[in-house]
């Protein structure tokens, strides 16, 4: 079943259509939510909720448009809602809160790195993971969309439901904070220019 067939069946209320879409996009959606929420279980909750919303609001989807951006918007909304509930109600989870759990293993690296390079890269990733936890959920979302999905600011603004100016602000603040932990990127805004 290709995507068009899956969308057509999903919009008719056929669960097999939704199943095909879940199987096609769950990994991408879950990794996105994981980077934003920094918790696998929360990420699964967010993605499950997003697919439920997709099921409930399937008639609102325009089948002439690609499915992934529409789903991604739902995933972001659910992830930010989960993150917002955590942060709004409970001051302990504010960005100033440093978690010491470190799920990032130290076993990955370039294809043929030296042991020293591997150790350094693993350390950088561990620090990046901690640094992401110091960003606000919206800053983290903007960073993930910009650098993980490599989207231009205009698309990020559409996905997050805000202006490109707001996206620039999120990215700027996010990069400043990341630099504080990780060191200075070579050219802070080289990829930050709006491609759209």
């Amino acid at each position: 079943m290709d995507e068009a067939q899956a969308v057509e069946r999903w919009q008719r209320g056929d669960p097999e259509g939704l199943e095909a879409l879940v199987r096609a996009y769950e990994l991408r959606a879950l990794r996105t939510a994981y980077l934003i929420l920094r918790d696998r279980m929360d990420a699964e909750d967010a993605v499950q909720n997003a697919f439920l919303r997709a099921w409930e609001h399937r008639h609102r989807f325009d089948p002439r448009r690609p499915f992934w951006p529409w789903l991604l918007r739902l995933v972001l909304r659910e992830a930010l809602r989960l993150a917002g509930r955590r942060d709004r109600r409970l001051p302990a989870s504010s960005p100033s809160f440093l978690e010491t759990e470190d799920p990032v293993e130290s076993t990955w690296g370039d294809p043929h790195p030296s042991p020293e390079q591997m150790a350094e890269q693993a350390e950088q990733r561990r620090r990046l993971w901690q640094a992401l936890g110091l960003l606000s959920p919206t800053q983290r979302t903007a960073i993930v969309l910009r650098y993980y999905h490599e989207l231009p600011e205009k698309e990020i603004a559409e996905l997050m439901g805000c202006t490109t100016g707001t996206v620039k602000h999120y990215l700027y603040e996010g990069r400043i904070r990341l630099r504080g932990i990780l060191g200075s990127p070579d050219a802070p805004d080289r990829k930050g220019e709006d491609h759209g």
């Binding site: 879940v22 990994l27 409970l90 302990a92 100033s96 759990e101 650098y147 504080g180 990780l182 050219a187």
Partner: protein, 377 residues
């Protein structure tokens, strides 16, 4: 690090955290099939990571639970009374705007106050009522800041657990550390509002719901003898520690090794919250799956200094700074806090699991078996 590296590392972190497709379809199919068969979900809020997970696991490990009332009573009481760790059953309820809040039980010690409650209302499948406001205070005017909420909703055969449609259950945890020592009995008022996000995007609120109740307080041990440990030329002082059945909390302070940087301690397990003036609150609660601190000690592994301008690399000063804490209950008189009256040492200590040497005082047998189903330890 350049931006290409940032992109690559984000991809690698995502692939490491989620290495393969997780097969969410069975759970989603169950949730769209019917409200009655929707999958149990859990949520967790708050940053004191160590706390709620063992409690929730205990809830899930209870076994066949036909009614939620049994659930909340049994999972705490399964270990509580016979170990001298009892909760106060409340069975208070209020209803407003179609939503009913039921306060089922409460527990208090010198570190934390915990409340089990349920919400019943016209909730759609997968929908839950969040807290838009929560305040806990006592008759003396002390307020206890909320730390964490953890809960479940739905039904799951795998977990052998069932909450009826439209019902959710959760545990609220508040910090009482700052007010320790507490009196033997607390008269508390809990005030909360519910927020329900409708599919239309509109947020509805219900409340306030207000409950007055009294609960006994389980005492602990307070150490205020200002232990200082020195490593790498930096003196770190543990100004105060409270050891109670719900965990250990300590306030540590150190002068910034470089005042131009923002410094944080990195403990060996647990979590850290900044208090200002170079001081931090450290919480830990030994549990499986986490690098536990050395038995009977708080260990600070590193001090990390960040350049607020974002120009220089962070500095990491290795330790460790080690502060012995007696968790065994056999503390010798000579090691008690200086100047502390005996009243701060509980007669109940030897009977508490944490003081009796159990490293995971709230963990029932069989919790590990559940870790592979849906809960990550």
């Amino acid at each position: 690090m350049d931006e290409r590296e940032l992109s690559r590392w984000l991809r690698e972190i995502a692939e490491e955290g989620i290495p393969r497709s997780p097969d969410l379809w069975p759970a989603i199919r169950e949730r769209i099939a019917s409200p009655a068969s929707r999958k149990a979900r859990r949520w967790r809020s708050g940053g004191w990571l160590a706390w709620g997970i063992p409690l929730l696991l205990m809830a899930l490990a209870i076994g066949a639970v036909a009614s939620a009332g049994d659930l909340w009573e049994s999972f705490v009481l399964s270990r509580g009374p016979k170990e001298g760790l009892s909760v106060q059953l409340l069975h208070l309820e209020q209803e407003q705007g179609g939503y009913r809040v039921l306060l089922e039980w409460a527990y208090a010690d010198w570190n934390a106050i915990r409340i089990g409650y349920r919400v019943q209302g016209p909730l759609d499948p997968g929908q839950r009522a969040a807290l838009s406001e929560v305040l806990l205070s006592d008759e003396a005017g002390r307020s206890f800041p909320p730390e964490m909420e953890e809960g479940v909703l739905g039904a799951s055969e795998a977990m052998r657990m069932a909450l009826p449609p439209g019902e959710q259950a959760s545990i609220l945890s508040f910090e009482s550390w700052a007010h320790a020592p507490l009196p033997d009995l607390l008269r508390l008022r809990l005030r909360l509002r519910l927020a329900i996000d409708l599919p239309s995007g509109v947020r509805e609120e219900r409340g306030p719901f207000a409950f007055d109740f009294r609960i006994p307080v389980h005492p602990g041990v307070i150490r205020e003898d200002r232990q200082t440990a020195v490593a790498n030329g930096v003196a770190v002082t543990m100004e105060r520690a409270v050891i109670a059945p719900s965990g250990v909390r300590a306030r540590i302070c150190f002068p910034p090794p470089d005042p131009r940087r923002i410094w944080r301690p990195l403990p060996d397990g647990g979590a850290v919250r900044e208090e200002g003036d170079g001081c931090f609150r450290v919480f830990f609660f030994p549990r499986p799956g986490v690098a536990a601190p050395a038995p009977g000690a708080l260990r600070i592994l590193e001090l990390i200094g960040v350049d607020p301008r974002g120009q220089d690399e962070p500095l990491r000063l290795p330790g460790p700074w080690v502060f012995p804490l007696d968790l065994s209950g056999s503390e010798a008189p000579s090691r008690r806090s200086s100047g502390m009256p005996d009243a701060h040492f509980s007669d109940h200590r030897p009977r508490h699991p944490v003081f009796g040497g159990d490293p995971y005082p709230f963990r029932p047998d069989g919790v590990q078996e559940l870790s592979g189903t849906s809960i990550r330890l």
